[in-house]
Symmetry: C2
Subunit: 255 residues, 2 copies
DNA sequence: CCCCGACTGTCAGCGAGGTGACAGTATCGA
DNA sequence: TCGATACTGTCACCTCGCTGACAGTCGGGG
């Protein structure tokens, strides 16, 4: 099936299309950005900076007030440093102009840009302020000075990144062991904020490496079973407990 | 997700045992341990400690000489600290007694145990010295002191963990976008040391969430195409270039 | 207000891969 | 040297999910 007759050219064009932030965001690009978006320092679980840190450092951090719709950082460029969102929401998106797809949302307390900066890799998505937003920014030099002056913060930052690594590991395991229904359940459960996942089915499908019709079928089944409410551009989790049960099921059913 | 264990009768072994009536360690356990084993600080790519660091710190690190077959650290228990392998090889395995499955190997320069220690989670596998091995050990206090006294090392450690996070991300994308052949190619390419992957097909299949017969079929196809040599308990990569081409193919074949 | 673009809902057909089973073979310990 | 115990190689059958297409619905901009 994968004989020597495949067109190397079309494959290459496909790959190149992914790398440039072109017009039509290919599924693969959406998928990659969406998964990376799940690896930010989430407030509550694994934020490297506590609110006490932020207040203590407030004077030495650059404050950035972003007007609604403003781009805070742009995908494709190397990360200028670390962003800490203090108020408002930032929408993470891929793709140009009208064809852009939202792959995630940053909320107050979230920290992003650190991994890209540490590794010198380009940011995979663009962040825009949804309403008015207040961010704190550390450039590379500030970041180094922060870690140098505050070893406790350095230590906690290490813990934060380690936690993100562990959750990425967990997602690998989730993705491999389950049927599509299990993957969907796992994705919804840890992507939800306040019981709602505000992503279109197309994006969810891309994140799972699944086809949209297949995803839709699973969603409707789960809705019929009373676990979800499928709405326009979002999914509401109704019965999280049962949903966790779906995730736990072994991969294939068979008598 | 939680770590595995090495001792029959522990809670986790019991829970995993419930999922399948199975006797051998459940595939899910093997899979999880195998993926975590791929997230150690590999020498060369993302080791937090340079050899110069190690020599500079040699006096303050605890040296541990492990006789062949000795257990260096045991799965299921919380990590006592960070292990740096200086000489020899450590075999990472899951499962009790004779039924154990090897999920990875540590080589000179590799660093492990840091993530589990940082997060307070149990180690998912047991490490045994294959031949004679020399390890350096830092307990939690030593680790904290190291990061406190050497900010440059703390900074590099952060970079190392960030690199491991990025590679875990990359694996998620690899796993979702490709056909089974693509997944196999990706797995073999970055699991190989000196062109050889020394894991049985059962373990490889578990890592990919695939069935062994399916994996075997793909391996034989790749062998027929001259890219691999399938041997007893290991796979030898013959033509890495072509294998990289297989990995790049889009997900599904289609006229 | 209406229209256009984006999103959801659904279908028939097909191929990839899972399942369980069984035979052959390499490896290791007694 | 001889089993016991893995591991590999392969089969027929069947399910899951992908493909491509089309109709219905929501929502924002002119």
């Amino acid at each position: 099936m994968h004989g020597g007759t495949d067109e190397a050219g079309s494959t290459l064009a496909h790959v190149l299309g992914l790398l440039r932030g072109g017009s039509a965001p290919a599924d693969a690009q959406v998928r990659e950005a969406a998964w990376i978006a799940r690896c930010v320092g989430r407030s509550g679980s694994s934020t490297p900076l506590g609110s006490d840190d932020v207040t203590a450092l407030a004077g030495s951090l650059a404050v950035h007030h972003a007007a609604p719709g403003t781009v805070v950082f742009a995908g494709g460029h190397p990360s200028s440093g670390v962003w800490v969102l203090r108020e408002g929401q930032l929408e993470l998106s891929v793709g140009a102009g009208r064809r852009r797809v939202v792959v995630g949302v940053l909320r107050a307390g979230d920290v992003d840009g650190d991994i890209a900066m540490l590794l010198g890799m380009p940011l995979p998505y663009t962040a825009r302020a949804v309403g008015a937003a207040t961010c704190l920014h550390l450039d590379r030099a500030d970041f180094d000075r922060l870690l140098l002056d505050h070893p406790a913060i350095a230590r906690r930052w290490l813990g934060s990144v380690a936690g993100r690594l562990a959750s990425a590991q967990g997602r690998i395991v989730d993705l491999l062991g389950c049927s599509l229904a299990g993957k969907v359940a796992a994705l919804l459960l840890d992507e939800a904020r306040d019981g709602v996942v505000r992503l279109p089915q197309r994006t969810l499908a891309a994140m799972l490496g699944a086809a949209r019709p297949s995803l839709n079928r699973v969603l409707k089944e789960l809705e019929r079973d009373g676990m979800l409410a499928v709405e326009y551009g979002q999914v509401r989790i109704v019965d999280a407990q049962s949903l966790r049960g779906v995730r736990a099921h072994p991969s294939q059913a068979h008598p």
